[in-house]
Subunit: 551 residues, 2 copies
Amino acid sequence: MNVSAPATVGSHLFRRLREAGVDVTFGVPGDFVLPLYAAQERFGMRTVVCTHEPGAAFAADAYARLRGLGAALATYGAGALNMVNAVAMAYAEHTPLLVVSGAPDTGCRGPDVYLHHRVKSFESQVRIFREVTVAAEVIASAEDAAAKIDAVVAAVKARRRPGYLEVPRDLVGAPLPRSIAQSVSTSAEAAADPGALQEAVDEVAARLAAAKRPALYAGIGVRRYGLTQAAVRLAEAWGLPVATSVMGKASFPESHPQFVGVYMGALGDPGARAVLEDSDCVLALGVIQSDVNTGFWTANLDEDRRIDFGEQSVRVRHHRFDGLPINAIVEALAARSPVRTRTFAAPKPELPPAPAGNAPLTTQQIIGGLRRLDQSAYHFVADVGDAWFVGLELRADIFLAPGYYATMGYAVPGALGAALADGSRRPFVLVGDGAFQMTGVELATLVDAKLSPIVLLLNNASYMMLEALDEPHSYYHRRPWDYLAIAKAVGVPGERAATGAAFAGALSRAVASKGPYFIEAIIDSSDRSPVMTRLREHLKAGRTPAALAAK
Amino acid sequence: MNVSAPATVGSHLFRRLREAGVDVTFGVPGDFVLPLYAAQERFGMRTVVCTHEPGAAFAADAYARLRGLGAALATYGAGALNMVNAVAMAYAEHTPLLVVSGAPDTGCRGPDVYLHHRVKSFESQVRIFREVTVAAEVIASAEDAAAKIDAVVAAVKARRRPGYLEVPRDLVGAPLPRSIAQSVSTSAEAAADPGALQEAVDEVAARLAAAKRPALYAGIGVRRYGLTQAAVRLAEAWGLPVATSVMGKASFPESHPQFVGVYMGALGDPGARAVLEDSDCVLALGVIQSDVNTGFWTANLDEDRRIDFGEQSVRVRHHRFDGLPINAIVEALAARSPVRTRTFAAPKPELPPAPAGNAPLTTQQIIGGLRRLDQSAYHFVADVGDAWFVGLELRADIFLAPGYYATMGYAVPGALGAALADGSRRPFVLVGDGAFQMTGVELATLVDAKLSPIVLLLNNASYMMLEALDEPHSYYHRRPWDYLAIAKAVGVPGERAATGAAFAGALSRAVASKGPYFIEAIIDSSDRSPVMTRLREHLKAGRTPAALAAK
């Protein structure tokens, strides 16, 4: 791109994205967004065309989780409104995802103009996106464009939540006023109150020193605010055992000797549960007290023993420090020398048996096989269902899943975004048959992008998670498709495995392959992961989520 | 179902749906909606589980177009928010589609409760649906349930636009107060003002009698308000030539000798254009003056020569009769004896040549093959792209397409809904490769439901419609998948056709087959339908949609 060309609304947008580390957008072209497609091509931004808008937004979400910002491009109406669910997930899970929607020309937005893709009024769409974003703006002229673009991008980055920009077709190429074009994007990270910071660090350090069994509980905030290394320093300096929440899985490196497991109340790792529930001082970093994170309210970590580091505040017992961005306080605490040094080494976890033999394949054998992989070689991306709970058994560095919002269909498109955000690892997809039916053909886009995912489809011919939580019903049955044929039809070779031995062989061939590889693992619909088994037992004992939430 | 069992919120809902002619719902189960699934199973309502929520809502939309009401069931958040695009289409295209969303228990909706699938607040979802529906309610108690259900169902039926009901999980089985349970649903059709009706019928009849070349222009309102037979009587009594709008295609039987074609300004049928643009009195029944219907503003039908029958009013020259529901005025007009009798017979349309020979298959040959089918045997369902424009060349009785909102991915799930709404015809799907990539695997659900669609995939390896409207770009290319293998993987046999002779053979085998049949037609990405050719020429001449809209 000729850098001396006058800045336009479009080039300003893509320049801001580039400055924020975005070098690819995900989307589906459609007429109202075509000028943005042409503009990004001129700008040198990589264009990834997905099969369907839900997949494009999921891919951009995964990219955002690893890069700190991700962008989805959509046409007006039929495009953007097909992303609402994915953007809602990004809101719930604190993902800095920007949706850029094309829109009708500024002169065509009167109340009596019936353009295709229009719903109630030309404002319906932005009003919908206001419900699922922290900032949503419609560019109305070249004069307001730069300020709105900068404000939305800054809000998304600072608040780690989605934003929305709507760009009318005729404004993409409109030149910016010269003074605005030269402006520099400013950081929107809030600064900490120095007095509050000092006082809070002093108090937390004193409580850590006084505690008998302090522990660290890392949540999604650690990943979103780039605090993984700070958390490692903090844990090492003070000798703290570390568990993560479900959403925060892999926000702390799980190969670290102080890592004890994923805490999910009575449903998650028993070792992690023992450490946290027995602790007298739990530093909860960026943990959201959601139903899933608390193991459907089976968690037993009362507030007196917990110090909660939220996005902008720290709570200790009955008082709260406000105006403390989580990154400032965690970095400051990690930099503070410990008053009292300890060491901690987690017990070496026992591995499930390796898959072998000619008996029907089991979920435990699958976990045994996955745990023996080099966990540092992959972005693990898990879909909702037992695939997700199998994923919780991994010891991963990167683990992406819709762990709170729990939408299905995330994993295959998520792998696309993860691989393009960080090419140093290979994507490893864990997906059930129900979720694969939703967005599995997005595999084609990974092939188009020359990526080499390993895709493990857990085919139990059912919405097994729902059936496990309920009684049997015919509507939980999923007729098994020839999933392997579908993978091959879009360009991904692979094999089917119905025994332990076959699965072991398939996994080794997948690892050895240079290109994409698909494994369809056939498991019985009554076979379940450890987490699913505990969840089911819990519910059968009458401890329903509603009853627990109401307690 | 035991009819003497006390009515509950759930049974009342399904009773109202049944009374309105709905005997199946489309959806994807998820935990917040499970009590509704169980309730509908007890009630004896048929449950169709789709692969993905966008497909479920499209299927329910097609069902609604034929039955006068359709219902989609969704779980909270991840389910319902995945239907926003389809509901927006239903709003834009006047479809009576009801979305019923499960929701968290009434006791779990506090501001500090972080349940999965939740976004900003528990009200975010209903606020989003208010933007795309005419009525949206959250059931808050057993006491308000019947009134809210009745009001939303009545509004959807009366206004032919979508509605939304949100039912908390714990209320589905709650018994209704006895007095409410006995209430009877009342019709919500508005009555006409008799004086206005008389005066308007008199004036329209006089204008018809005085006109030299009167004509009928049937829009989507004719289909939505069940006025097809009235339109036939009206046309026959007065000897009127009849064209339809694009959205209104097949709202008038296209095998009728007075039918002249689909009017789309300079882009549509030349015969229909000549008749309407040359007429001195066009009765426009339920026509929406959208960009697509007007052939991107190339229509030349000025208001002085048009009498516009809207949903609730009639406009003649500079005056308007309000309070006249379209069904009342059209029925009254059709019942009025003509003052002056004419006859009209449309020229017999020339058929494109039948497909034959070993040269590469062309779009014209495909049209030639389709036109020779018994048009009365099928529900034709077309997706957006050139598949839609090919569909415009048919002479169909039933033709479903997202002809205004223009969302992609409608046709395969739409065929599911159409076939279950009216089993007397076989679904015939026209779909492009881009659209098939979005929702094509929903074919599996047609197989599950024991339906026998014929699916014609026009594979031109591109988003050809976009490319036709623009310059060539790499992002319009769609890598061809092995679509036939995908069809077979979900249980649909078929074949691929790349020549005229192969297509003729495939079509005859499809027609003869008793089960579902898939034809992948290979066409060159530079080959186009007549409408697409005219549209492209139009745009190349600088008559862009924006320029035309602004004129």
